[in-house]
């Protein structure tokens, strides 16, 4: 036997109460961990996605919803369109090296799956230097470039003539298949811009324009120019770097609020633990007297109860981390449905530093909550403790 098993024995005496207390700590730690890892996951995920867009500015039709960037990234049908003629004005803006026009739409295939079609031209390739194409980029009418996942799922090969999903009586020739990019575009089907405009009956219209600048620091100048030009009346100019910061600050303020809630949860858990151990001290007064008679010093008694509190908190904290890990999927889906801009990457990832911070929080709760009861137990006079009727020792 050692000090560890002795303090374990303390809470074996009242497993249910200890369990409930530990669960409180666990929940607080789970909230704490989720918050920390979510924040990191969301920031990194969003940054990756915007990098993946390969553009500095996104030009979308006026009146589009605020989440146009999310639509461009994740693929969906657009409710409004841009005249293709605006492209020239965009290209004329200072600092613009590439302006890639795109026509995107999503078709329902069966009941649930969406097929996303994106019409692009060669300009688009300049935004995707990392693309690896087996076969070639569509050059003739009806040629298709498939995302890795889109091809894999349907078992389509280069050179195959295939029915276009979601459309009747339309076929295309697979001219190329993309290597995996681990983004939403793995599911996309690319085709020539003109084909897309024709196929979906929006001739000379675009859904968005992706703009790349020679110097990303010249963003403000280009944006001001674009907003001021004639076509600017009908276009929404979205500077993506600013978008990142805007969304980030939105999330940060929510995080502050959630952080306060998590901190309060931690404090409540601390109070719960403190209370439970105080009760234990009261109930075990006689036992404490006996231990003193058997040679335990004040420091021994203090350590015993302090340790016991720490054990409850660390056990609760570990349980809370396990719970957070298991529940992260659920929480992730729940969050995804409510975020203005949810990256495809996992939002809540297992972060070792966040787990360590969670456990450190639990230990902090334990050491603070354990102090008062342990101190009180240590200060009991052994003679009075022996006379007490508390406990059955």
């Amino acid at each position: 036997m050692n000090w560890f098993t002795l303090s374990l024995a303390g809470w074996r005496q009242r497993p249910l109460r200890t369990g409930v207390t530990a669960a409180g700590v666990g929940l607080a730690v789970a909230a704490w961990f989720s918050l920390l890892s979510f924040q990191a996951g969301y920031r990194d995920g969003m940054k990756n996605e915007l990098d993946r867009l390969g553009a500095h500015i996104l030009v979308v039709p006026k009146g589009c919803p605020y989440d146009a960037a999310s639509i461009a990234l994740h693929g969906a049908s657009w409710p409004c369109y841009l005249p293709a003629a605006y492209l020239d004005e965009v290209r004329a803006a200072p600092g613009v090296t590439t302006a890639a026009p795109a026509f995107m739409t999503a078709l329902h295939e069966g009941t649930s799956t969406n097929t996303v079609y994106v019409g692009v031209d060669e300009n688009f390739l300049r935004l995707r230097p990392a693309w690896q194409i087996r076969g070639r980029f569509p050059q003739a009418t009806n040629e298709l470039l498939l995302g890795a996942e889109a091809a894999r799922r349907r078992h389509w090969q280069v050179g195959q003539t295939v029915p276009l999903p979601g459309l009747t009586n339309a076929t295309g020739l697979v001219s190329g298949i993309l290597g995996p990019t681990h983004g939403a575009e793995d599911d996309f089907i690319y085709l020539r811009l003109a084909d897309a405009q024709h196929l979906f009956a929006h001739p000379r219209q675009l859904t968005h324009i992706l703009v790349r600048l020679a110097d990303p620091n010249a963003l403000d100048r280009a944006v001001t120019h674009l907003r001021g030009c004639y076509a600017g009346m009908d276009m929404n100019i979205v500077p993506l770097a600013h978008l990142f910061h805007t969304i980030q600050s939105l999330v940060n303020s929510t995080r502050l609020l959630l952080g306060c809630v998590a901190a309060v949860a931690l404090l409540v858990a601390a109070a719960g633990v403190g209370n439970t151990i105080l009760m234990a001290v009261a109930e075990r007064t006689r036992e404490i007297g006996v231990m003193r008679a058997l040679g335990a010093s004040r420091a021994d008694i203090f350590r015993l109860f302090w340790w016991e509190t720490m054990q409850v908190c660390l056990a609760g904290g570990t349980g809370g981390l396990a719970f957070a890990f298991l529940a992260s999927r659920l929480l992730e889906n729940w969050l995804r449905a409510r975020l203005p801009f949810a990256p495809v990457d996992a939002l809540i990832r297992w972060e070792w530093w966040a787990a360590a911070a969670g456990l450190a929080g639990a230990a902090l709760v334990g050491s603070i909550a354990g102090f008062l009861p342990a101190w009180r137990a240590a200060r009991l006079s052994p003679v009075l403790a022996m006379r007490s009727t508390g406990g059955d020792a």
Partner: protein, 229 residues
């Protein structure tokens, strides 16, 4: 301090030992100038009516509390005037306690209960625990928990526990008070056996058989020793 040859071999030497409790404004003289010595190897019974100060005396002898006045030497070391910490040290190394209510920790096994004082004293104890459990006839119960034992068995475990740190002095406060007479008798026999092996035993008791078994009796009444030396 006078050190007569007799005091050199005494385990307990109390001189005008007084303990006054404060109960509100009232002073309770629980012990009033009690003087006596106990030599090594003695078996002493302390008797007296309820409230006579028996437990108070035992607590002072066991270094659980400090006297209001008077002097106390245990195993030739001065106890009066020692602080909390030093009393704890002395208690660990010198005294073994046995209680009326056994005082076993309910969540620990028999063996864990026995080694508990060794843990507090930072001593290794596994072999000695086994030996002591053997001696009190409960080795086969070592992994049991106290609630699985009878009262007599619990008290035997408590006695084994009191002996784990090889104390000079065994103090017991009504050790048969919660036992029927037959079981109590077996505990008395155990005390006699331990005493025969050289242990100094001091028992507070109401039990006539125990009192008779002890080779010396001290009677307390209203905090004073009625007779004896």
């Amino acid at each position: 301090m006078t050190t007569s040859p007799q005091e050199n071999t005494s385990v307990i030497a109390a001189q005008a030992l007084t303990k006054i409790y404060q109960r509100g404004r009232e002073e309770v003289r629980a012990l009033d100038a009690v003087s006596f010595t106990v030599a090594r190897g003695e078996f002493t019974a302390i008797t007296g009516p309820s409230g006579a100060g028996k437990s108070t005396l035992l607590n002072l002898l066991g270094c659980m509390d400090a006297p209001t006045s008077g002097t106390l030497r245990l195993d030739d070391r001065e106890v009066h005037g020692l602080d909390e910490r030093a009393r704890t040290e002395l208690r660990r190394s010198t005294v073994g306690f046995v209680f009326q209510h056994f005082g076993l920790l309910p969540t620990l096994t028999v063996e864990e209960n026995v080694v508990l004082p060794a843990l507090f004293a930072r001593r290794s104890s596994a072999r000695r625990a086994e030996m002591l459990l053997e001696k009190v006839g409960l080795l086969h119960r070592r992994t049991h928990r106290p609630h699985e034992l009878s009262g007599g068995e619990m008290q035997r475990v408590a006695i084994a526990r009191a002996l784990i740190n090889e104390p000079r002095l065994l103090l017991a406060d009504e050790p048969t008070g919660n036992l029927d007479s037959a079981t109590g008798y077996s505990i008395i026999t155990l005390f006699q056996q331990l005493n025969a092996e050289g242990l100094t035993v001091l028992v507070v008791t109401h039990n006539a058989v125990m009192t008779a078994a002890a080779r010396r009796q001290l009677a307390l009444r209203d905090g004073r020793l009625a007779d004896g030396k």
